[in-house]
Amino acid sequence: MPDSTPIMSATGRQLRVDLQRIADMVGRNTRLLDVGCGDGALLDYLVHEKGVDGRGIEISTAGVNACVTQGLSVIQGDADTDLDHYPDDAFDFVILSQTIQATRNPRDVLENMLRIGKKAIVSFPNFGYWRVRLGLLFFGHMPITKALPYDWYDTPNIHQCTITDFVRLCDRLGITIERSIALNNLGHTRRIHSSVFLANLVGEQGVFLLTKRR
């Protein structure tokens, strides 16, 4: 995760930089589902700062209980199985933050997100980041970075991808990338579409705003 200073809102709510970039993409007073909402930091921010009608899905009991305890509408569930139950176009935005690499069927999840939501926002740790590449090239072992802090044997991340991989998948699925940014380890952003090659090298994370191709 980028570790630059969190940005504080008018009401004193702080968000991690990557979450702030996601929040920036969300329209005010919209209906929104945050898939893999963790302890609810982003959802809480969006509900209170942007007036969204926000819901969440979280796999961990501790995360769910923390969310519901602070008054957020969150269910215990998982991205692979629980999106099926929602009707088409139920939300304006469906967010998947730092979760797609941990799903069993990322492609199905992505398609489901754009079925139940008009727009999707996806962020993930970029496996093409130069530190990741160097780790494997020079040291010959699975890279461990701030964004990917796990050993290979206990990582929940079973479907790692690079920014380039993700752009290709969107293309294959007929998904339009409305906005895309790469964040480096200092939390600085650059637009991906200006050079996917460069973004894939310097970006520690990618954040994408997606719509279905009409």
């Binding site: 209906r31 769910v64 209980n65 305890t69 008054g71 215990q76 139950h85």
Partner: protein, 390 residues
């Protein structure tokens, strides 16, 4: 520990001074699902706290099979604390300093609301088995009539566990405009074959008691205590979990150092169950047990809406908080998840938490801080959202 007594004729009597009773259906009778009209019937209830000026702070608590309206004050017969006194009261999770809490004895019950033990005004004698068979929806309709009487048009929340949770679901589907938030706990949208099977064992044990007299025991001066206590023993096992039973009793012996090679209660768990059975008969009516278990068995919310559970919540604006417990094998997390999925299908506003507990179905009645944190947080968030003032 003594075995349940038989033959002792002691009709269950609720002290006249205990609690509030109102007669409902005096102008328009209650049309039951079975087609019978129930007119001029008693409804026993308790209230806690004060209804605020804009009438926005009312919470209805719906009780389970063996519960009653005495949710937070001592039981008038047993003298024991109210069945949910841990969660309901001043400063508690359901804070009676803030909310106006109503809890009524269900239709078919035996603590003052119309049921088989009460007097049929037409005959002047106890209803017995001539009392009409009631449903969960009938219970809810009667509660709605009570709230009309109390001047409560909209509930901030309706909260209940087990059969109480069934009433919560029924409330939310039948009166969506009257329910801002709904909290179904440790419950299911229909009774499973296993649920029905356990109830049938209980009913058969009551009806097999010769003292039951075809349901006519109140007129004949007998009391099917043995049958009712066995029903309670069976049911009580289903409310616990194997780990909870093991922790509480293991294979420990009761007041003896070795087994007796007989059929006395050698094991602590036997003694405990006998005690549960024999104390239950002091406060419960056998026919009521038949009627209420039947109402639960008949409960199938989806079936009321053509087979699709989601249709029960179509266009609902109610906020839901569904809660289950990991060790509850009677009303499982899977059953709660079915409710959640139905609510998702209509994009309802729903929270769902599974609480880790090894205490089985009874967890919702016990000291479970995580459960209370979730419930308290949900209510607080909703109270802020809906602007509930004290």
């Amino acid at each position: 520990m003594s075995t349940p007594q038989t033959g002792s004729v002691s009709r269950l009597v609720v002290p006249q001074t205990a609690g509030k009773v109102v007669r409902l259906g005096t102008t328009t009778p209650l049309r039951l699902d079975c087609g019978v009209d129930l007119a001029d019937f008693p409804m026993a209830y308790q209230t806690y706290g004060t209804l605020n000026a804009d009438k926005s702070n009312a919470i209805l608590i719906t009780h389970a099979l063996s519960g009653d309206q005495f949710v937070a004050d001592p039981h008038p017969i047993t003298g024991r604390p109210g069945w949910w006194h841990l969660a309901v009261g001043p400063g508690k999770v359901i804070d009676t300093d803030r909310y106006f809490v109503v809890c009524s004895n269900v239709l078919g019950g035996c603590m003052g609301t119309a049921g088989p033990k009460e007097i049929d005004p037409k005959t002047g004698e106890p209803w017995g088995l001539t009392f009409p068979v009631i449903t969960i929806a009938d219970m809810v309709r009667a509660q709605a009539m009570l709230l009309d009487h109390l001047g409560v048009t909209q509930l901030f929340s309706v909260i209940g566990g087990s059969m109480g949770g069934m009433q919560v679901l029924q409330w939310a589907s039948m009166y969506p405009d009257r329910v801002l938030t709904a909290v179904p706990i440790a419950t299911a949208a229909h009774h499973s074959a296993q649920n029905i099977a356990f109830h049938e064992v209980g009913r058969q044990s009551i009806m097999a008691d010769p003292e039951w007299r075809g349901g006519d025991y109140l007129k004949q001066g007998t009391n099917p205590n043995r049958g009712l206590s066995i029903a309670r023993m069976v049911a009580h096992i289903t409310y616990l979990s194997e780990p909870a039973l093991h922790r509480k009793f293991g294979r420990r012996l009761q007041d003896r150092s070795q087994i007796t090679f007989g059929f006395d209660a050698d094991f602590q768990v036997e003694s405990y169950l006998r005690h549960q059975g024999s104390t239950f008969v002091d406060r419960f009516d056998a026919n009521s047990y038949l009627y209420i278990t039947r109402a639960m068995d008949y409960f199938d919310l989806a079936e009321q809406y053509g087979g699709l559970l989601a249709d029960a919540f179509d266009r609902t604006a109610t906020r839901f908080c569904v809660i289950s417990f990991t060790s509850d094998w009677l009303y499982t997390t899977a059953a709660s998840r079915d409710i959640v999925h139905a609510l998702n299908a209509v994009a309802a506003n729903v929270s769902f938490a599974e609480i880790i507990s090894d205490a089985g179905h009874d967890s919702f009645l016990l000291e479970e801080p995580e459960f209370w944190k979730v419930l308290g947080g949900f209510l607080e968030g909703a109270a802020q959202r809906f602007g509930v003032r004290k």
